[in-house]
Amino acid sequence: MDTRQFIRLSEYEWEIPASGSMRVPAIIFASEDLIADMDQKVFEQATNVAALPGIVKAAYAMPDAHWGYGFPIGGVAAFDPQQDGVVSAGGVGFDISCGVRTLHTGLRRDDIERVKEQLANRLFQKVPAGLGSTGRIRLGSREMDRMLAGGAQWAVKQGYGRREDLERIEERGCMAGAVPDDVSEHAKRRQRDEMGTLGSGNHYLEVQQVREVFDADIATAFDLQAGDIVLSIHCGSRGLGHQIGTEFLKKMVVSAGQYGIQLPDRELACAPIDSPLGKTYLGAMRAAINCALANRQIITQLAREAFADVVPEADLTLLYDVSHNTCKVEEHVIDGKPRRLFVHRKGATRAFGPGHPDLPDAFADVGQPVLIGGSMGTASYILAGTTAAEALSFSSACHGAGRAMSRRAAKKKWQGRGLVDELAARGILIRSPSMRGVAEEAPGAYKDVTAVVDATHRAGLAKKVVSLEPLACVKG
């Protein structure tokens, strides 16, 4: 994008002043290089979001922003129900509550070097990945509803994981306000065989080593040190979330006129928060958040079993679990007054700073872990929420690298088998059911996550704590 379109508020903050139908400005956080590389569509989409009813303060885009659907991916926007604010199915996206969870393993690099291959194979056997894979759990309709109401808390009750895991999950593992009856039979049917599955695309399960420590105090509070082995899981609400997104997008497009909403882009489909359609969407979307939390909890248990088979001394404990496609009700201070807002984050991570009342005690002094996934074969990062992000971005940070190249171009440029061999030579084991899928997810098809994380850090949205280096990756 041409940076002359913006007012540069600070080195990492670029404003598009409100004009035309925009109700508030749009603000993009990025370095000059990142913003220059962003697609002009990010500008258009951010300004369109700024035109939605009831939007508060500004439409924000994170340093990894790219062209999405309606909202840019990396978009954050808060709406006030007292000011005819809306909830948008497009603003949450199809993969509701897609997110990352990272677990300590209690192991060091030396503990797994000899068994790395065996561990990669066992994880690949245990955790269903890729299109056409099915989980071993089949939920009947009553149990499905219990899962949708209970999230990870339900999963723990079923024997997937430990009670103490819940303390380290946003919402303590259960999103309040979920209404299983608001979820269609189609959505539930689509989920029937998909509990405990990883999915495909950019979803993965990765064994990683803590490579570099940037902030020793916070790393200590997170119980991380260089050479530690951790496990990260990136996936979402599977078919159930996708179907809910699909169905409500259409309902909101068709009924926008009835609510007097002019949509600058159909993908911004939304409904007033307090309307029957808005409320039904919130009930279903929160159920999908629970589905994602339950799914990551089940996969955690499968991973624990795989580790136990190969390295019995491993003890997988949860560092944290974050979601990056959500709409959540949060209190934020606007002009000195607390307001209850519906904060949409689409491809953006909530990043509460020190002292936030929703954080587990362990993070009260340092802020929450903000888990940023890289692409296959590249670094991932753990950051910490800051107090400053509350005023900057409704406590939000980036979520990942973002693609630099289309899937089609990647498929033409790389061969899956060649990539797997090349990464293996660098000590990174890839396990995937599809070599074409591996080619399309080639590390070179993604932007440099380091530049995104550096911009996030320098903009004050979150603090860099450690980087993680991949050792073995199960790709869907």
Partner: protein, 149 residues
Amino acid sequence: MTQNGEHPAIDAGYWEHFHHEADIGVRGVGRTPAEAFEQTALALTAVITEPERVIPVKKIPVACAAPDLELLLADWLNVLIYEMATRSMLFSRFDVRLEAGGLTAVISGEEIDRARHQPAVEIKGATYTELYVGQAPDGAWRAQCVVDV
């Protein structure tokens, strides 16, 4: 027939993918809207695997309805995504009949064989981004949108 009463310039329908930064665009071109819809469905399958690898052994009737042709295209693709997900199938033959306010179709395919089909990616949904159905001056119908993968 074109709006001028001439035959469309294309001899047969075809499909293609188009660029989207994070995902992928599917486009079908045909002599009629129904053929364009069929070709878009082939483009959808091609996101996952090579359509010629999918043997059309099992036929399934489907139907959908929407207030306009563009929303109908998104619905049509979403029906296919649902059928693929819940039946664990891939499809390579599509016989579409457009009717007032909707469509009926018979879709043919087979169960996913992960070794043979090497499915690259699962499609989450058809989006309204770059959603378009229309007729070009040469008479060819074009149907397209971006799909989320």
